[in-house]
């Protein structure tokens, strides 16, 4: 694609010769901020959480700091259609590296499988958004079908093979494992020393699991369901199908090129490249961005020898 970049560069050079300041109102000065919500609820949660953020317009209030995107004064109400609860704003200590969120103990408002829930968010001066979701009925669509031992450089390791057996829901998993750090090798390439620690590995979807075992290019991991680390626990998640609309599933196939990789003019003056198509984040938040979804989870523990 280098050759295509060349063509674009040529045009850029050509066009740069005629740059002018804008003296007309092309983008309305009162460009609205958008409310962004992240809320995943589950019967297994001990605390119900929701994050409320806002977009930062480029042209009516420049120079926002990052933490100004968090909304502190929102009214966040979770409801099942009959009863409701308001989530309270909570900030964490800076050292915890956790962003502020709206919380409520699940003891005050129970979440049940198979039930519909509603979320309403009001931000003074910005607007109102709402959304609804239904908690999945059950989490029987993923089974641990195989556990065996495999010899690696670190000795014998357990291998888990998870299979999705139902297409009714979208499944995902995450887990904990032993991670090896600071590997030391001898001249022959053998590991002679290492440190280890427990780490929580990333969340993945089962979107690649097919009957023939082949993988989907949209997945992060080409061997979904096969875990080679010294896994201490695996958590399986069950979502509604709509979950696959939201990040991080909007990746490679949807947005082929990182725009800045495609066009990066020499002096990097241009933030947004000229030649990329816009990309819209999907959402189920009416009037805003983000998502409100229900899920179920179950944990599989391994007694590591």
């Amino acid at each position: 694609m280098k050759a295509i970049n060349i063509i674009l560069y040529i045009l850029l050079i050509f066009l740069c010769a005629c740059i002018k300041d804008v003296d007309e109102d092309v983008i309305p000065a009162d460009q609205k901020r958008q409310i962004i919500v992240r809320c995943l609820i589950s019967p297994q949660d001990t605390i119900l959480r929701a994050s409320v953020l806002q977009s930062i317009p480029f042209f009516n209030k420049n120079g926002y700091k990052y933490n100004e995107s968090n909304v502190k004064n929102a009214k966040v109400v979770l409801s099942d259609g009959i009863s409701s609860v308001q989530l309270e704003y909570k900030e964490y200590a800076k050292l915890s590296n956790k962003e502020p969120e709206y919380v409520c103990p699940s003891s005050r408002f129970h979440i049940y499988a198979g039930k519909q829930y509603y979320l309403s968010v009001d931000v003074p001066g910005v607007g109102h958004v709402d959304a609804s979701t239904r908690i999945p009925d059950g989490i029987s669509g993923v089974n641990l079908v195989k556990t065996d031992l495999q010899e690696t450089k670190f000795g014998m390791e357990y291998r888990y093979e998870l299979k999705q057996t139902s297409e009714d829901y979208q499944y995902g998993y995450s887990g904990s494992a032993v991670e090896y750090l600071n590997l030391g090798y001898d001249w022959s390439g053998n590991i002679v020393s290492y440190d280890s620690s427990i780490f929580k590995f990333s969340f993945y979807f089962f979107d690649s699991v097919r009957p023939n075992g082949s993988s989907d290019r949209n997945s992060e991991n080409t061997n979904l369901g096969l875990i080679y680390r010294r896994v201490t626990s695996i958590t399986i998640y069950c979502f509604n199908k709509s979950i696959s609309n939201y990040p991080p599933l909007n990746k490679k196939g949807e947005k082929a090129n990182d725009p800045l990789d495609l066009i990066r003019p020499p002096d990097n003056e241009w933030y947004e490249p000229m030649f990329t198509e816009p990309f819209y984040n999907k959402t189920n938040i009416n009037g805003g961005l983000g998502f409100f979804e229900g899920y179920l989870s179950k944990e599989i523990y391994n007694r590591w020898q």
Partner: protein
């Protein structure tokens, strides 16, 4: 069913009329119309019998045939705009070739008109604009480069793309939806100079006809318009030529007999010289060369009274080359795109009522880019290539059984060969990697029939249909396309018209929304990408006034389906982004569009002051399930208002001044308007977010309205030995309106760094300020 009923009614009407004409003698007069001086055939000339109130026009070869019933003798009038009308009295069937003398006075006064020879109220077809080239040359032009495509942009219902662009957006359709033909040869790319000039050299063009709707069945393969251009045949009596020197390019056209009165040629060549002009201003380390050229050629041979042969050829190329060199770094870049087309046409007059035309042609469009980089003595090479090749066979028949009928039928076969993209990269270790999107070779076979049927003195229709069989991979599409045009004369000079047409398109353009040509890529419909389809209905009135005024008002509604675009976020067909088990189709999505509006055109055809006023009120919407979150959005060139005023004033033979003013609603566009942290789905990490640009809704913003005034003055002098010279001075964008070409955000460096997010300034690119130009033309 409606169509069949209508045909049945028309048939009955015709039969009933025949019952009352038994006592008359039925005769047929046919022949060809030529220009008296150079023996060129006159297309679209008007043959009229006033006493019977019947008329016909010549075809592209100047051939006509008219049948009627008489008792005694009748006078036939032969006329063509810019020629003296000739009258002949006839009393029986005969072949009658007629030569018309040019009326220089008229030729110098007229301007672009609608179908000037027939009168807008007399032609059954609506939504058609006919442009004689003598007239197109009087309209002010960019850098003095006479460009017929830019003249078409001044007509209602036709909109330009970005400023200066030769792209045509006809009734909401994209530039790929125009069937642009030169002597029947279809073009895939019509641009020079990154789209600022069209390929078509006005010196060799004879006629240009634009059809925006009510498509006759003989045209197919594109959704929105047909631009049918014919080349001069060349002078069959003596040698002539034209040479033009302009600021951007120079051109030379020669024509003359190869065999007197039998065989003629015309050849024209044009080359730009930006490279020569810019060279002295470039630094020693940088060598940049850019130029384009094109060559048109035609040989026309009248083998005998019944057989004619013509060979047409076009080759145009744009070449860019840059060499940058310093001690550690060398960068050699080449970018070429070219069109090469040719066809052979054989016309055969089978009888006085029946003629045939066989055409065999081939075309190739290709884009090639090469980059060689040497960095720290390590060379690497990158090569990109895309092309479309076509081979076309066409056989057409024209049959005039009676003056009330004019039947055309034909078959066409096109064998396509698409190479959407081949990228070959050789790295510094001489390891070659080829990313090739597999080529596709579909075939497109069509059969059509149409009849222009004059039901009575007031009511005329053109009814027909086209059926296409398109084969690609293992998929076959068979698409019928009914066509209907109706015209009813309320008075002698006023008609109401209606039309309906279904069109299908199999060659699709993936358009880079900002750049456009040459980065657009042609791809075929496949088993996964369905052919594009449109249905258009139009209604209008046409009136011819005294003093050569003509008025047309039309409304239309067009609905398109299976329109094609890149998927969200995809910018180009890149093999790396295509999954191994999927084709390039995975980067493409399809949707629908609908456009509606009204068009107004008031023309003054002749006189010292001539010109036209055009106005379009239109809406143009699109909806793709996987774009803009599935919501409908305005098309990029959705322009509520679009107006043009053209005035040409010629007080005497030696001087001409013209002006054109255009106004249009600003382009719709999309910009990032804010930035946000978008949470990601991970129940484990609640802080899992990514910074994302939030765009306005697709095409949800508007540029300010666009307007511009162009002026031109021609100083004409007749020299000895039939020579003529023209000095033309023109000014583009006279009041220097800073029309926006594109908006972008620039980081405000002075305030960057203190905050997480930088401050931005909105900037715009203004491409074409006031541009004076001068050119010199010599005809000999």
């Amino acid at each position: 069913m409606l169509l069949f009923r209508l045909i049945a009614i028309l048939f009955l009407l015709n039969s009933s009329h025949s019952c009352f004409s038994q006592e008359f003698k039925r005769i047929t007069v046919s022949g060809q119309l030529k220009e008296a001086s150079d023996k060129e055939y006159l297309a679209n000339a008007y043959i009229r019998i006033p006493s019977l109130n019947i008329a016909t026009v010549t075809n592209d070869s100047g051939f006509y045939s008219i049948s009627f019933e008489i008792r005694d003798t009748v006078d036939i009038l032969f006329s063509q705009t810019g020629y003296y009308t000739k009258k002949t009295r006839i009393f029986n069937s005969q072949i009658l070739d007629v030569e018309l003398m040019p009326d220089r006075q008229i030729m110098n006064e007229i301007v672009i008109t609608g179908n000037d020879t027939l009168g807008v109220s007399r032609d059954v077809q609506m939504s058609k604009i006919f442009i004689p080239m003598e007239q197109a040359r009087d309209v002010p032009s960019f850098f003095g480069e006479k460009d017929v495509i830019k003249v078409l942009q001044l007509m209602p219902g036709v909109q330009k793309g970005n400023e200066g662009s030769t792209s045509l957006y006809v009734r909401g359709g994209g530039p790929d939806q125009n069937l642009i033909m030169l002597e029947g040869m279809p073009f895939y790319n019509v641009s020079h100079l990154y789209g600022f000039l069209s390929l078509f050299n006005s010196d060799v063009l004879q006629n240009v006809e634009l059809t925006k709707g009510a498509f006759p069945a003989r045209y197919g393969g594109k959704l929105s318009s047909v631009i049918d251009m014919t080349m001069k045949q060349g002078n069959k009596k003596e040698f002539h030529g034209e040479g033009t020197i302009g600021l951007l390019s120079s051109k030379l056209m020669l024509e003359g007999p190869l065999w007197k009165d039998k065989c003629s040629f015309v050849i024209a060549a044009r080359r730009s010289y930006l490279d020569i002009v810019a060279r002295p201003f470039l630094p020693d380390t940088l060598n940049v060369v850019y130029y384009f050229y094109d060559i048109n050629a035609k040989v026309h041979w009248d083998i005998n009274q019944k057989n004619k042969l013509s060979l047409n050829f076009f080759n145009g190329k744009d070449k860019f080359r840059s060499n940058y060199k310093n001690e550690e770094f060398v960068n050699n870049t080449k970018l070429n795109w070219s069109n090469i087309l040719g066809n052979l046409q054989w016309e055969y007059l089978i009888s006085e009522k029946l003629s045939a035309r066989l055409s065999i042609g081939a075309s190739k469009y290709k884009l090639k880019a090469i980059q060689n980089i040497t960095e720290d003595s390590l060379p690497s090479r990158s090569n990109y290539y895309t092309s479309v090749k076509d081979i076309t066979f066409k056989y057409e028949l024209e049959y005039k059984p009676a003056y009330r009928h004019f039947i055309r039928t034909g078959v066409q076969l096109i064998i396509h060969n698409f190479e959407p993209g081949v990228s070959i990269t050789t790295d510094s270790f001489n390891v070659e990697r080829q990313d090739k999107i597999k080529g596709i070779k579909p075939s497109e076979a069509s059969l059509y029939i149409e009849d222009t049927y004059k039901i009575n003195s007031r009511f005329t229709c053109n009814v027909g249909g086209r059926i296409t069989r398109y084969n690609v991979r293992r998929q076959t599409y068979i698409k019928p396309e009914p066509r209907l045009a109706l015209s009813y004369n309320l008075t002698k000079n006023m008609a109401v018209k209606a039309s309906y047409a279904i069109m299908n398109q199999y060659a699709l353009l993936l358009s880079q929304s900002i750049v456009g040509p040459p980065l657009d890529i042609w791809v075929p419909s496949t088993d996964l990408i369905k052919p594009q389809n449109s249905r258009q209905v139009a209604l209008g009135i046409a009136k011819d006034f005294r003093n050569n005024f003509a008025l047309t008002i039309e409304t239309y509604y067009k609905k398109s389906s299976n329109l094609v675009d890149y998927r969200e976020g995809v910018t180009y067909l890149n093999k790396k982004d295509i999954a191994d088990d999927k084709g390039w189709e995975s980067l493409v999505t399809q949707g629908r569009g609908w456009a509606y509006g009204g068009e107004f055109l008031l023309q003054k055809r002749k006189g010292k002051i001539s010109g036209w006023i055009g106005y379009t009120l239109s809406w143009n919407w699109m909806q793709f399930d996987s774009l803009n979150l599935g919501r409908k959005y305005p098309a990029k060139y959705d322009r509520r208002h679009d107006a043009s005023v053209v005035l040409i004033y010629k007080p005497k033979d030696r001087f001409l001044i013209s002006a054109s003013w255009v106004y249009s609603t600003g382009n719709a566009f999309t910009m990032p308007v804010s930035v946000a942290s978008i949470p990601m789905v991970d129940p484990f990490y609640t802080n899992y977010q990514h910074s994302s640009t939030i765009y306005s809704t697709k095409n949800g913003l508007r540029m300010p309205s666009y307007h511009r005034l162009d002026l031109s003055a021609q100083f004409i002098k007749q020299l000895k030995k039939q020579r003529k010279r023209i000095w033309e001075v023109s000014i583009y964008n006279v009041y220097n309106k800073q029309n926006s070409y594109y908006y972008f955000m620039e980081i405000n460096k002075e305030e960057f760094g203190s905050n997480w997010y930088p401050k931005y300034k909105l900037k715009k690119v203004v491409l074409l300020p006031i541009i004076p130009s001068i050119s010199y033309k010599l005809s000999f």
